[in-house]
């Protein structure tokens, strides 16, 4: 076990897969010489060379188009889109091309691409560089959606994403890059679609993703002081979604809270709530409660941004008052 930052886990996760598969290549803006604007690809150029780690122009459609074309002709690709907000610029390739080819070609085309992108708020970057856009991707049939919350998961889920034959959008959280965590030595390979129960509890279930996982854990610590035992589930992947883990926990605790960073309208928490309402209604002891960012563009000022995102305090307060 070693302590590693989330940021370093990204490059380690990519390196692990590039060592394993000599065909795997990566492209994106400023990823090679510069090591990425978030320094998540530092060292990769030195180890794998300019043929496998390639800088591109500011051409998001060209980046993802090239990724798709290479992948469908036998070369698996990791493509970086610098900020997840920029997925909007190339969303045609993501939503209409990569996601649909297998189905509409009767299974002839497979697109083993991982789109890595920096998601989420907390850096005071304002409304065009802070969004959590996992919902944009979650609703598209044909895409897989992953968002790790800690360094070990970054590596394990990166491996799972790279080895998956379907297009995977891999959301790295900007505000987690500097955080550290224990990482076991040796190769780490996870499975997509498996949630983790990061804290067990008996009174309520809190389902969270990415940055909201450590916040939910801190809130659970405080709830414990009040005698409320909260179980925290790190969903890790939205597609495939580990509904078994969610339903199993809700059956045990009787209460579900979802904590999501994206704006409230049509957020993934609504999908989770609806699944639970349909399939575990009689096991619920109260309504499912969603803790979200309001339906607003994100403000830049520190005080306002902090207010928008679900905070430890807000999670704690919401759960405590609901459970009263």
């Amino acid at each position: 076990m070693a302590q590693l930052s989330y940021r370093d886990a990204v490059s380690l996760g990519i390196a692990q897969e590039m060592r394993r598969d000599p065909n795997l290549v990566m492209l994106g803006e400023d990823i090679a010489g510069a090591g990425g604007v978030f320094k998540t690809t530092v060292g990769l150029l030195d180890e794998f060379g300019p043929k496998r780690i390639r800088d591109t122009p500011i051409s998001e459609q060209a980046i993802l188009g090239a990724a798709m074309g290479a992948a469908m002709t036998g070369i698996p690709v990791i493509a970086e889109i610098m900020f997840s907000d920029f997925l909007a610029v190339c969303f045609d390739i993501v939503a209409n091309e990569m996601a649909k080819s297998r189905y509409m070609t009767g299974g002839q085309v497979t697109v083993p691409v991982v789109i890595r992108t920096a998601n989420g708020a907390g850096s005071r970057f304002g409304a065009q560089h802070s969004q959590s856009v996992e919902n944009w991707c979650m609703m598209i049939p044909g895409l897989k959606v992953v968002a790790p919350s800690n360094p070990a998961d970054v590596i394990g889920l990166m491996a799972a994403a790279v080895r998956d034959p379907d297009p995977v959008v891999f959301f790295e959280h900007k505000s987690l890059f500097a955080t550290k965590g224990e990482v076991p030595s040796g190769e780490i390979v996870d499975e997509l679609g498996k949630a983790t129960t990061v804290r067990t509890g008996s009174d309520c279930t809190i389902a969270a993703l990415a940055l909201m996982v450590p916040r939910a854990l801190q809130a659970a610590d405080r709830l414990a002081e009040d005698g409320i035992s909260a179980e925290v589930i790190d969903l890790r992947s939205l597609v495939p979604l580990d509904t078994r883990a969610i339903l199993g926990s809700v059956v045990k605790t009787g209460h579900l809270f979802t904590v999501e960073e994206n704006p409230r309208l049509c957020g993934w928490g609504a999908e989770v709530a609806s699944i639970v309402a349909e399939e575990a209604f009689w096991d619920l002891d109260g309504p499912v409660v969603r803790i979200t960012t309001p339906h607003i563009p994100l403000p830049s000022a520190e005080a306002l941004e902090d207010l928008a995102l679900p905070s430890v305090e807000r999670i704690y307060e919401t759960v405590r008052t609901t459970m009263d």
Partner: protein
């Protein structure tokens, strides 16, 4: 090349008839009148080269050798269709023939063709990727991104603009900054200005051979503008009435197939040889139609097949 042009023409005429009989549903975009482009390029390609086409992709698919029966069956939405009835007219694909797909959203496939060319470059093969698109496509961002990207990476890719003078219903010169929407922009990417008579299969073949040679030599991409004309409207719904009668008349005079026929006669091929070719193509189109009509309607469970690589459609456990 005469035979291929005949196949494309007769196949699409039949597709049109089947429309009229309401056997082909949805929409379809025919390239009647534009056969020489698909033919010239198709014949110049190696069997392992890659083709990327638009929703107007019947001809490009057939030119790669995809079998007529399954293609026709796809238009009819049958289970024996080339895409098992899941894709339809606008998405014809046959990976085994190097036909890497027909893309219905303008511009994307130019970027995707780059990727196939990049992969060929990395694998060290001499494959070339060819992206066909219309004149209207030159005004979307993806066109410009794709060209710049292909040039800076020296990709073995050929971009072929089939300039049929209209985007959908609007003449291209009304909505473009330059008269030749592809060729006039080549210089912006450091490429040669290449314009070819898109109704002359031999001229197209010659240009195709030279740009393919360049790509295989590692000398990078090319942009070709083939000037041609569609005989009919943009799609099934369009009678094409916005076009001046004299213009249509003048282009019908330059129909690529009678022109090619005439050339072959002048070169000493006999009328009877040519009509034998026509006849055998007619028989194959007939067989393809029968094959398609015999196809079963896809079973309901096919709805849930092939969203994911495990074959299924489940996004939750």
């Amino acid at each position: 090349m005469y035979e291929l042009q005949q196949s494309l023409r007769q196949f699409e005429k039949r597709a049109y008839d089947l429309f009229m009989e309401n056997l082909v549903k949805g929409t379809s975009h025919l390239s009647l009148g534009m056969e020489a482009v698909a033919t010239g390029f198709g014949r110049a390609m190696h069997s392992d080269d890659y083709t990327f086409a638009t929703y107007r992709g019947h001809a490009h698919t057939i030119a790669r050798g995809a079998p007529l029966g399954p293609v026709m069956a796809e238009l009819l939405g049958r289970e024996n269709g080339i895409l098992k009835g899941k894709g339809g007219s606008m998405h014809l694909t046959s990976v085994e023939h190097g036909m890497m797909g027909s893309y219905a959203i303008i511009g994307a496939h130019l970027c995707i063709a780059n990727g196939a060319a990049w992969s060929a470059q990395m694998r060290g093969t001499d494959q070339v990727a060819v992206a066909f698109f219309g004149d209207g496509t030159t005004n979307i961002g993806a066109f410009h991104e794709a060209l710049n990207f292909a040039v800076i990476w020296d990709l073995p890719v050929v971009f072929v603009c089939e300039n049929n003078l209209y985007m959908e219903y609007t003449p291209i010169d009304l909505v473009s900054a330059v008269p030749n929407p592809a060729a006039d922009r080549a210089a912006a990417y450091g490429l040669d200005r290449i314009i070819v008579d898109g109704n002359d299969a031999d001229a197209v073949y010659e240009v195709a051979t030279s740009v393919f040679d360049r790509a295989r030599r590692g000398a990078g991409p090319s942009l070709v503008e083939a000037v041609t004309y569609r005989h009919g409207g943009h799609s099934r719904a369009d009678p094409g009435k916005y076009r001046p009668a004299e213009e249509v008349e003048a282009w019908l005079e330059r129909d690529p197939i009678p022109m090619y026929h005439q050339r072959l006669l002048e070169l000493g091929v006999s009328e009877s040889e040519l009509s034998a070719i026509q006849q055998s193509v007619a028989e194959r189109v007939e067989e393809a139609t029968e094959f398609a009509k015999q196809g079963a309607v896809p079973a309901a469970d096919q709805l849930f097949v092939d969203v994911w690589s495990d074959g299924g459609a489940s996004w939750r456990n």
